[in-house]
Amino acid sequence: MDEEQKLAVSAALRRLATVVGEYVWWVRRGADDVLRLEFGNPHLVIHEPMQLSQFASRTVIDVLGRRMVEPTGKWHLFVEDGDWAVVTKSCGTRRFDTDHVRADAALRQLDGQKLTSVDYIYGMNSWHLQFDLGGSVTINRSTPADNARNEESVWALFYEDGAWFSFRNDMRLAHKP
């Protein structure tokens, strides 16, 4: 790990540290088994229907031709390309777990816990989020073997005002102030 990467980890930890002490809610898996978590007080994000061409497919119209209103936390953590695992006191799951009952149970048990600390474990190149009721989220960086690309995010943290901060697969940072 070069000096710039160490500085990137340090900066990323400072950003994640701003979420420590907040409750996590609406923990869920998305397409490609990305992990999405909300922290802090909720507000509504509203996407108005898009203007679509007359040739748009039924699926595109169904997805983008409607208004979408979604509750979002003050912070939204989006684990996009990182391989994640969630462990709670009685359950565990990870990305691409095909046992949906087990996965849902683990995410449900994490839901509502308070983030107590954030670590970066060098030996494993892992992010480790610890919660107050024994839950944890571990995020490993994807590798080229996983079809990962350098410029894509292991995780990204979105703030309610539209700013975001991401830690990339190449251990560099990207952000929108």
């Binding site: 002490g21 088994d33 954030v118 030996g123 894509e152």
Partner: protein, 123 residues
């Protein structure tokens, strides 16, 4: 493959705990020191409930996407569509995922169409 237990002997960063300040954990000799607070006990995997949970996560097995001729991107089909459409910021990709999550879309072409619309539009 995940190793879910923090290793107490590894140097690294730690925040959110009063025992250590954020930053590199280097002692006066320049050696890495434990990043875990004094008194922190790693759960014993052999006989407590954490052990069962960690084991459960480990038992999921190797779930990395399996690429094939029909599915060259493995399980990361949405990611591949986002790439092809040029969704080049976390913001755009997050919007894309917000739109498609829970829709049950399993057609690469449809995902690509949606991603292209998001790239071109004001969603």
């Amino acid at each position: 493959m995940f190793n879910l237990r923090p290793k107490t002997g590894l140097s690294g960063f730690r925040v959110g705990q009063s025992e250590n300040q954020p930053g590199f954990a280097i002692d006066e000799n320049g050696e890495g020191r434990s990043t875990l607070p004094i008194g922190f006990n790693v759960p014993d995997l052999g006989n407590d409930i954490y052990g069962d949970a960690v084991q459960a996560a480990s038992d999921v097995g190797d779930t990395q996407p399996a690429a094939s001729a029909d599915d060259p991107q493995g399980l990361k089909m949405a990611n591949a569509a986002a790439r092809e459409a040029g969704l080049d910021t976390p913001e755009l990709r997050q919007k894309f995922h917000r739109a498609i999550s829970g829709q049950g879309i399993n057609s690469y072409q449809e995902l690509l169409n949606i991603a292209r619309q998001i790239k071109a539009g004001t969603y």
